[in-house]
């Protein structure tokens, strides 16, 4: 992979130790390991002065999440959580339209993330040993909620700019022999009184990666569908529906930052990921040089978003365990100064 032998490490903590003492030390640490190790590696990296880019879910427990938040606060380092869908230009356009007031006061939110990759009843293959995702400690409290539920929850917050205050959930598995959750249904209450629904599963046979969101406000409804990511539909209260496209007419600056190419040429998953990395790079470069970062770069999810997501999973699982009672999902975190 083009890494010189002296810098290829067999052990993550060892890598952090060694790199932190080099003059040409790594500029950033990206964590793409099993969920239960995120906390340990993130804290170790932050302790050694590394900015961190980390896979979701940020951690498997809230205590771990809060420790990362405190560590980021005390070190002043950058922490970026790669909720990839926030990197799509049309998701950023949706958020920008909300922030611009074009959707009005938001009243209803619908999100669903439906996959079929665990639809096969023979998954996981018993002969193959259990993958870490299926392990109750390594994979976290709820496979489906950690894997895709956190994406759905974060997308709702990212676009609507609302916080979930309470959740009533039903989480479980429809494939009988499966040891982990493969679906999660929930009803949501938001801090402004809006209401919402939430549906995630990995067991819908034949479905690929059907993430959808609809956000309805007093002035209109926004709809985005990941399988056709280059279209953002806006249905105004009083006018024909409009479709925004990357770099097309009406693209707002927060979205334009995420567009690489002339309108009409599709971009996708890799570019969305790259947008998040670019934004993190801008934040890191600004921190290092002591300048203010481009405010449009600060759209990437951070440690606070991660902690709110972990809290949501905990609240949803607790609700489901208590047969669906409405459960507090709020997490109070000071705004980052």
């Amino acid at each position: 992979m083009g890494i010189e032998a002296s810098r290829a490490y067999s052990d993550a903590i060892g890598m952090l130790d060694t790199e932190s003492e080099r003059g040409d030390r790594a500029e950033v640490v990206a964590i793409m390991t099993p969920n239960d190790s995120h906390h340990r590696y993130a804290v170790a990296a932050l302790d050694r002065g590394f900015d961190v880019i980390c896979d979701k879910p940020m951690t498997n427990t809230l205590d771990e999440a809060l420790e990362i938040v405190r560590k980021v606060d005390s070190t002043g380092l950058v922490f970026c959580l790669t909720h990839v869908y926030t990197g799509y230009p049309m998701v950023r356009q949706a958020r920008a339209l909300v922030e611009d007031g074009q959707v009005g006061e938001i009243r209803l939110v619908q999100v669903e993330y439906v996959q079929g990759n665990k639809a096969d009843e023979s998954d996981p293959d018993p002969a193959g040993g259990l993958p870490w995702r299926y392990h109750p400690v390594r994979g976290g409290p709820s496979l489906v909620m950690g894997d895709i539920g956190t994406h759905a929850h974060n997308l709702v917050r990212f676009v609507s700019r609302l916080e979930v205050t309470e959740v009533a959930a039903e989480i479980g598995h429809v494939i009988p022999a499966r040891p982990v959750d493969d679906y999660g249904a929930a009803m949501l209450r938001f801090d402004n009184g809006a209401r919402g629904t939430f549906w995630v599963t990995q067991t819908a046979a034949g479905v690929e990666n059907d993430l959808r969101i609809r956000v309805s406000g007093t002035k209109g409804s926004l709809e985005w569908h990941q399988e056709r990511p280059t279209r953002l539909t806006f249905k105004p209260l009083d006018g024909p529906l409009r479709v925004y496209t990357p770099n097309g007419p009406g693209t707002l600056p927060a979205s334009a930052r995420a567009c690489r190419i002339v309108a009409g040429h599709p971009e996708g998953f890799h570019e969305a990921f790259a947008n998040i990395y670019s934004d993190a790079a801008e934040a890191i470069a600004a921190r290092r040089s002591g300048r203010e970062p481009d405010p449009l770069a600060l759209q990437f999810p951070n440690e606070r978003d991660g902690a709110v997501g972990v809290k949501f999973v905990e609240a949803a699982v607790a609700s489901s365990d208590a047969n669906g009672i409405w459960t507090d999902a709020r997490l109070s975190l000071e705004e980052k100064s």
Copy 2:
């Protein structure tokens, strides 16, 4: 309207009385009056020997619904409930694929019915007097659930052939001054262990008539969207997705009965309604002549479906009133002999 003066009545019961004594009496009574009058007119019609075609929701209370069921049983007359979406060819194709086993054992069901026709905060116009739908007695226990929730619930049962056993719901209104419900969210448990979500609202600004259903079984997922009713998508567990069209290749007999025209020419709402009327007409004609009806005609919703729908609304409202606890939604009705 071409009705002769002697048969134009100012009063419904009076009409039933007079018509029932004519030699050329009306062949069937169709009820399209405010919800709270369905029961009275239906019972009166059945008592006088008329077959009945009735708008949904069948009644506003379960007691009324059960009385209609008993009355239909004791008279042997035909009762047809016009859940119009069951008349669309591709909805019937979906059900036929389920019945044919092509979808496998059903594990997940998603239904949403989203409209924007009550998104305007000034609806209803206070100067105009309250329409009957907004009246708590005339309109029924829940405006949104009666108006479109019963459609969504019936569509789920029609396609999946499953019954909802329990529901946990949140029903209310997001427009502050509104005296009636304008959204309903629910989680569903089915009699075979499947799980589902349910979302209806009339307050999504700019949305027209977005009724969608997805039914996932062990062999694949079916998806239908009312705004493009001529496509039924089937995503098999192991194969490229397929799209069925009215009278297109693979049309099953239960669907073909509902297609009037060569493949590629769209049909819509009027034809779906006509299909239900045609089926009811076949059932009525068969009853009168003492012959067996075409079994494919018996797809139309009947008084039992109506009662199950009323029970579902009651259960969902009760769940929501009790802050979302899981509530029994089952209604035991003998199969019609």
Copy 3:
């Protein structure tokens, strides 16, 4: 079919003779017979004072077409040609947007009408005898051009309000043993200098009824697709694309007249046909009562449109026979007074 025995005729001309002498004579004559008989029946009906609703193509020859035009002019009767696609609300919306100047000066037109109903190489079944459509005299000079080419040509004129001045065409059959045309390609020049392409075939295996049109002007492009008839896309030069829907926001009066139902409920082929009949009925009723018809009803294609269509087919066939030379397609007809 509910026709009384004394008015069920075995012979068309006999029917016209007998009906024309009854006091309760038929109000209109609708001609849905093989193409080569349209002229004879239309002239006979007009001669006996009947208004006429006639299938397309109006005639198989231009001489016949011109005779009908003269006959309509001399009798003052109504002649309606059922190009069904002009009855779709979104086609009328497209035309209304053009007439309203919202598309600007039109520069480019694209039309295609692609079907697969003659894709099977064994069609027509040699054992079954040749259907009349395949007969060179009865079916007309070019099967595909008469069947669907006239629809495509008329749709272009209806929406763009332009006339084709010249055509260069290639018409033939790709199924070797077939005795008639099954595809027609053409390039078009319009009276305002616009350019266009034209493509029709009935031999595209698996395609159902894929009629599409795109009209581009200096201010934007309109796109309509028959297989999803309830959407009209308008892509403005400087703004996000908009989608119009029947009775949705922005519906213009000429389109609203063709909408029967609240936005979001699909209508299709039958209603499009009915719109044309309704318009013809309005024109006939106005003629009889000596009043002016609703101007919005006069959108239905008439004998002049039919003659222009027959001329276009003749010009295209002549071009193709001359190996594609540009051929005059203009037909000068006085505007109807």
Copy 4:
């Protein structure tokens, strides 16, 4: 850009000279300069032993194109022409289905490439000086044909595996003051007797990058649309339509090679370009090591495809200049040994 100062050149030929004498000489030369310079740089690079990756159109004249072909033949070097759409997985799937016989004998081909980027009548801005694309020598014989017509033509050949034998064309500009072509219409005849239509323009206001192809054979029709590149529709003669997706069920090896990611995550323009570069890299690596390249890598367009494209443009322009007469478009080139 990370290029060391000693290797940043101010002159292309100088760069080739210098690099060709370095021990660590550049591995490949990529040409992305104005059209009229492709030939000169390509020949110079080949003469100095460099493999070449070149933008389309390959050259502005056929003589130049043929010289490149001869040069590639005599040097044995790799020449890759970046027709980017051939790098999309679903375009490769389409070709693979054709090669596998699933589409049957091809009878009809439709291609259109419609953009709106030159729809503004004030383009090019007269104050800005004429861009090279608008210069008759630098831009080539026909702006629209070189820019996007060659893409459309190459896509047809790539998917159908047929050659255009004759073309009848109408090429010109609809914006009056424009000095170059902005639309091109054509009818096509293929070497197996199939027929086709061709339509390209950059003047359709509001359209982004609407490249579409439909290929119909005796067994079914393939449809691909660049604006939604992750779907390939196959409409079989006798069965419901199927949709293929990148890495989805039914992906053939020639397509799988171009897929980077699990099904359901969109890829787009950048990845398509990268696929062509990867394939060229494989061909170059194989040449250098004297081994056979992966045959699936040899899908990238080469100098022969480029010459056939230049010939097509010449033939189309000649046809249009001769008022649309059918013109021979064949170019005989020995298959590459």
